[in-house]
């Protein structure tokens, strides 16, 4: 069964954005280590490494969403996993905002970013295809 257009658009756009963000973080790691370059994000080598490692995970997450466009069952499962990841990201952002140590750089972006992640989570929750729409035998 073909996926509804809003959900296809959601998975496609978010998937592409995640792959792009992940590749950016990985690229940032190599660019920052080039001789004479300044750190693009205010963190040390360890933080940069973990950001790049997180970028690799973003590439995988985005790729999964793009691959899920091929089938309703896979798209449903990818949607559920994405909701969990988005909510977790929002909790992390809100915690960082409350802690206060991150106000110097991202500031209010933490709170508005968390709100954006939660809105995306709501979109995935409601646009996700129904279980009956998943192909027989598909894990959802």
């Amino acid at each position: 069964m073909r996926l509804p257009l809003p959900y296809r658009a959601l998975c496609g756009l978010v998937g592409a954005a995640l792959v792009a963000a992940g590749l950016f973080l990985v690229l940032l790691f190599f660019v920052t280590h080039a001789p004479g370059s300044d750190p693009a994000i205010p963190t040390g080598p360890v933080g940069l490494y973990f950001a790049a490692l997180g970028g690799c995970a973003l590439v995988g997450w985005g790729g999964s969403l793009l691959a899920a466009l091929r089938g309703a069952g896979a798209a449903r499962g990818a949607g559920t996993a994405s909701v969990l990841a988005l909510v977790l990201g929002a909790v992390l952002s809100l915690s960082a905002w409350v802690l206060g140590d991150y106000h110097v750089w991202p500031g209010e972006l933490l709170r508005s970013g968390a709100a954006g992640l939660l809105l995306l989570a709501l979109a995935f929750t409601w646009a996700r295809p129904r279980r009956a729409a998943a192909a027989p035998g598909d894990a959802a």
């Binding site: 750190p39 080598p45 909510v87 929002a90 802690l99 140590d101 106000h103 968390a114 709100a115």
Partner: protein, 83 residues
């Protein structure tokens, strides 16, 4: 439908928290927010003499503001990025 509604409730709760945080006691309790709240009372107005205080230098030795009387003093607070 019911499951989607149930799944949406914690998300909506977090969304409400994200919007309401600056107006809550939680949002005002962070170190940065606390520092900002204390700042107006801690820093004197332009031209006034600061109250004496002591801070550790790069070697960890305490340095009092009163020890530097008569000299030009520039006080900065920076976060090390260990880069």
């Amino acid at each position: 439908m019911v499951l989607r509604l149930l799944a949406s409730l914690p998300i909506l709760g977090l969304l409400a928290l994200a919007l309401a945080l600056p107006f809550t006691a939680i949002g005002r309790r962070g170190p940065e927010a606390q520092l900002r709240a204390d700042l107006p009372g801690a820093v004197g107005a332009l031209g006034e003499t600061l109250p004496d205080f002591s801070l550790p230098d790069l070697e960890g030795r305490p340095v009092a503001l009163s020890e530097l009387r008569g000299e030009r003093v520039l006080l900065t607070f920076e976060r090390s990025v260990d880069w």
